[in-house]
């Protein structure tokens, strides 16, 4: 059996594999991704829902809260344990999570997401010119 244009094909394959695997080689030996260390509230141990729920679903929860509060005029949320919370980002969430830079931004930056919450809502640190 004869490989026509064998030299070119094999050279091409080697170059392709080299480029394809370059990111792996580049990152080899570096530490694996670890979740950022968040500054958790000192006075409060329990969030609105469980940690796992909040980690994965806080965006859906906030969207639901917005619609309940604005459209249905129902402003209180009773969680699965029977505890009551006012559905408000600024009046409830940010009362415990008093630092956006130390809490929200850490994961959002890591995940490269830019939610537009803070275009209008006021972060607890206040606004600067």
């Amino acid at each position: 059996m004869k490989l026509y244009n064998g030299g070119k094909i094999i050279t091409g394959l080697v170059i392709f594999l080299g480029i394809f695997l370059a990111p792996l080689a580049y990152n080899a030996g570096k530490a694996a991704y670890s979740q950022p260390k968040l500054k958790l509230p000192e006075n409060e141990k329990e969030c609105v829902e469980s940690k796992e729920f909040m980690r994965t679903k806080h965006m859906q929860l906030l969207n639901e809260w917005r619609d309940y509060a604005l459209r249905d005029g129902q402003r209180f949320y009773v969680n699965s344990k029977g505890k009551e919370f006012e559905m408000s980002l600024q009046k409830t969430c940010m009362k415990c999570h008093t630092n956006k830079a130390e809490f929200c931004d850490k994961c959002h930056n890591d995940a490269s997401v830019t939610p537009y919450c803070w275009d209008c809502h006021i972060q607890p640190e206040g606004l600067k010119k």
Partner: protein, 256 residues
């Protein structure tokens, strides 16, 4: 031989149905078991309305004081020029009521009228909004969800009262950032905004900020309740509304 096509299809159908039921069940089970309710303090009504006594609040200064109270509660910027954002402001008789009169009594000619969103019963802004960013609540308040506003300004074209303002620029550039009300958001560039009859304060059991600051010149209450204070005031005084011929049924009444 039982392996007929008919049996195979039956089995496949049952399996598919079973999978559907199982996944639907797991979705329901994944719900957190939470409920929602409204606050105990919240003020409620079937139809919120307002009466403005223009004899008591009839000067630019008096109305500016109302505007200041409102604008500081809702983080409304003060932008010099023609692109200002206003929730409540002062205008003359002709501009407010579209009834020019060449021989008007002098006190009425000089009087200023506080104008704001009328929270109409059939609001034209709600009809034209393509994203339902503005909507009518069951209690008659025409509210806005700024998350949804795309800034098309149809509502501004539809509103016959000019009650809506557009954020032509970033409003935070013109706000006193040190003295914001931290329990209410600001807006962003490119959305329309207007008076919200203080839905945020009503939910906390408080009357609107302008009514609170007016020292009795503004009365707020349930128009559907014959025993309410607004109805009492409406019974005792002759009142007019802005542009009634347009049929939007404003909820703000003026004692002239």
């Amino acid at each position: 031989m039982n392996n007929t096509r008919r049996n195979f299809l039956k089995f496949a159908g049952l399996t598919a149905a079973g999978l559907c039921v199982a996944s639907a069940g797991s979705v329901i089970a994944a719900g957190t078991g939470s409920t929602i309710k409204d606050g105990e303090k919240a003020l409620k009504a079937k139809r919120w309305g307002m009466v403005i006594d223009t004899k008591k609040a009839g000067t630019k200064e008096a109305i500016d004081a109302l505007a200041k109270a409102c604008h500081s509660v809702h983080n409304v910027p003060d932008i010099p020029g023609t692109q200002n954002v206003k929730w409540i402001w002062a205008v003359g008789f002709e501009e407010a009521f579209d009834q020019p009169n060449n021989y008007m009594d002098e006190s009425l000619e000089k009087r200023q009228f506080a104008v704001l969103c009328n929270h109409c019963s059939s609001p034209s802004c709600v009809r034209v909004c393509p994203t339902k960013a503005t909507y009518q609540r069951p209690d008659g308040i025409v509210a806005m969800d700024y998350h949804r506003c795309i800034g098309c300004r149809y509502c501004m074209a539809a509103c016959p009262f000019g009650a809506r303002s557009f954020n032509f620029m970033e409003p935070r550039l013109h706000l006193d950032l040190a003295n914001l009300n931290k329990s209410f958001p600001t807006r962003m560039r490119g959305v329309v905004e207007k008076c919200n009859f203080c839905v945020d304060r009503l939910a906390d059991g408080k009357i609107p900020a302008c009514v609170e600051a007016s020292q009795g010149a503004l009365v707020f209450g349930d128009l559907s309740d014959p025993a309410s204070e607004v109805r009492k005031v409406l019974r005792e005084h002759y009142t007019i509304r802005r542009k009634p011929a347009l049929g939007t049924e404003p909820g703000v009444y003026y004692i002239i």
